[in-house]
Symmetry: D2
Subunit: 252 residues, 4 copies
């Protein structure tokens, strides 16, 4: 019987991405305050497959992942990518890791002792090296009054800021979160001032996107950023997105 694989010349078709995805994997990440933090990641790993190869060795992705025992930092991230290129004989290797990152809450004293931030690292190793960090930072409206009864309540979940950055130098995840949360607080403070002691509810996604962008544009450790602010309604949301390279200061 003839082989379908030789009947059609499959070599004409390059496979741009081949690999494994949505692997659930326990990892440890570095943490500014406490040195090491345990969490659970979802991992995607893939390479290109030139037209002259029939297939890739899927099990090697898993072997490489196992070899690093879930220790994820900037160094190991790069070494995993290099290992993928070598062992899978690929020209381009890609690694995407998404995980929940927990931080002692900086604002508020009554809540959880740790806030949860969704975090993603997307890296590529081809002709050039590329690494993008994505962070989701929740945006809340503060409550002006506390009732005597002490009944707990919220104004609901206002929305979130999704920030993506590419690095010129190393910078802690914590420092980016702090910068975003301060930009949000500054806007809310201003809003409250305008409406004489009460929150006007006039926060716009456009204005918050620009305010966070203006803050990120001054961080010389970054070489590029993107900001998306989202405001939740009943079942849908409004959003605004801006993105820009970061210029180095003249005396930098």
């Amino acid at each position: 019987m003839k082989d379908i694989q030789s009947e059609r010349d499959y070599r004409r078709i390059n496979i741009r991405k081949v690999g494994v995805k949505t692997i659930s994997y326990p990892i440890t990440v570095l943490d500014k305050a406490r040195k090491q933090q345990h969490t659970v990641a979802t991992v995607n790993m893939f390479v290109n497959l030139p037209h002259e190869f029939k297939g890739t060795h899927m099990s090697r992705f898993i072997e490489i992942l196992n070899q690093f025992h879930g220790q994820i930092d900037v160094q190991s991230f790069h070494r995993i990518l290099e290992e993928m290129k070598v062992r899978l004989q690929a020209e381009a290797a890609h690694l995407e890791i998404a995980f929940a990152y927990f931080l002692p809450r900086m604002t508020g004293q009554d809540g959880l002792n740790a806030g949860r931030y969704e975090c993603r690292l997307h890296g590529s190793l081809a002709q050039a090296d590329d690494l993008e960090l994505q962070l989701t930072v929740p945006v809340s409206l503060p409550l002006k009054e506390q009732l005597a009864s002490g009944l707990p309540r919220s104004r609901g979940h206002w929305g979130q800021a999704l920030v993506a950055v590419r690095f010129r130098h190393f910078i802690w995840i914590e420092d980016i979160i702090t910068l975003v949360e301060r930009a949000v607080e500054q806007v809310i403070g201003q809003e409250q001032g305008q409406s004489r002691g009460e929150l006007s509810g006039s926060l716009s996604v456009e204005f918050l996107t620009r305010q966070i962008s203006a803050s990120l544009a001054e961080v010389s450790a970054l070489k590029w950023f993107s900001v998306t602010v989202e405001n939740l309604f009943e079942g849908y949301s409004t959003f605004a997105t801006a993105s820009r390279p970061v210029s180095l200061p003249l005396n930098g």
Copy 2:
């Protein structure tokens, strides 16, 4: 070779539920204002399997579903259950249908022309007949001011009320939604009054649950209800649940 099925006496083990689930199916439902509404449902169908039967005929569930062409109302719902009991020779038949129900918005003039309500019908036919309707009604805080600029914004998604009811007499889904939304508005109106023209943000899940319960307790078309009110925080929520039979009025 010996058959594993005869080695172990599988007949000792009754199967309480056997069937199909998460079938995606286009349906039409009756609608108070417009007579008929097209939507997409997720369907679960299952029966009991007495110990003396080896297995059920899964394809018959699908055949019965196809036979009704997605026309779902109180009558057809009951006929599907009866058909399941007969054709699958079962003592108990269960049907669960979840769908998005769209209604012209009753409050607000700037939004979508139709609000979306998650709706579930759970029915059983065994010794007795049982039908439960579940509805999710979004809860929002109103905005007191509209800025001159006309920038759109929300205070975020405050939360939702999940209402479940069992019927004594027929009552439109629309009428239950209206009743829940009025109870919420009454509470918000009172809150705004208390704090002299501004919303205090003091809505509690406990109070809203009781207020909606008090309204439902007066609807004699119902014979039982359950209310869960949920208030969203950043990534988690607070909630309260109450449930009660509905008494008939003395002169009812």
Copy 3:
């Protein structure tokens, strides 16, 4: 009190995307066999916002959507985009519509009378016009034997093919689905032949991706396509992606 909006020159920051997203909306779409099909869509609508504008008019997105009453076809899709550009004074308008599309099953006689295909239309109107259709087509392994008992069972959900296309001429969604399903069946048929009457389980994501790509490369109504085939494992999957422009035949 000074206005934060005038303190910082917000005009330096262009907003690349501003709009509404994840709106749930009942729509009707054209259908090759039955002319019209009712389903429920999730809609994203956004435009660019040049730096000299403070914000956009979010409510106009909703007004435009309401104005078309959920009638979605190639013509209305384009008219919605034009309306967005005009009414929001934008240089670029974007519309994304995702919906479940139901088709009479072409293969198999025992299952649901309609298969569900996830479908997405992404369109942009800027200097040039762009429209991309994305389809998810389930991939199943056939069962060789039917037991005398008639017990229903599957070999599980093998995976899926995600196909994206850009059009040169109009082509029905049904025709793309048929082409993908035939390519899959051809590979499975060949596999069964190789292993003398039984399925070898040797389907690879690389080979299926190339086979579907080879089929799409011959469809002159398309000007570009991308194919991703995914094979599910326990909790993760393997995948392969190829994409290419489609050449016109010399005598086309």
Copy 4:
């Protein structure tokens, strides 16, 4: 202005559940082989609220959770429930913890070094104490042949077994998983035998449910169990559920 809370007698309505839910929290759990395992949990905590109380103290739930630093085992689980009853002055306290549990794979040598099992602990402290453990164990079909090329592939994700148990004595999660996986392997082995060296694809959810039930019925450390086996099709699934108390052996 009159208080709406005193106008309506809210005291008539008991709140059956009040608390917090879907809190994301890093935890450590005990692990048979490695002593301690770090993972991320989703936590629900709630109590009853008698009619004479206006509301509960939501922040105390969080305080109690923080106080245990995420150390979850059978002892601490019970102490959290007791703390909830005391500090919230409740008659009934409920704690639900869901987490991913990772185990060295017992079957197969080529895959991930750790399998992921969804795990839930639901406990209540009222008149009586109740603790239920729920586990999701993936069910896969083995591949009979390995192609010379070494291309990785699967027959897809066949389905899963959801097992719930109540304990008479302590038993490791690992031991329940092993028992379920062995019952599945035994059925698959038998199936392969029947069809002379090839897998018939005839596994039924009914038969697997009974087989796993028969194995659990012999574990005297359990006092009750429930088994649901699910077989995935394209977009939907078939399932069967059985549940039973476990009898003690006469000489136990």
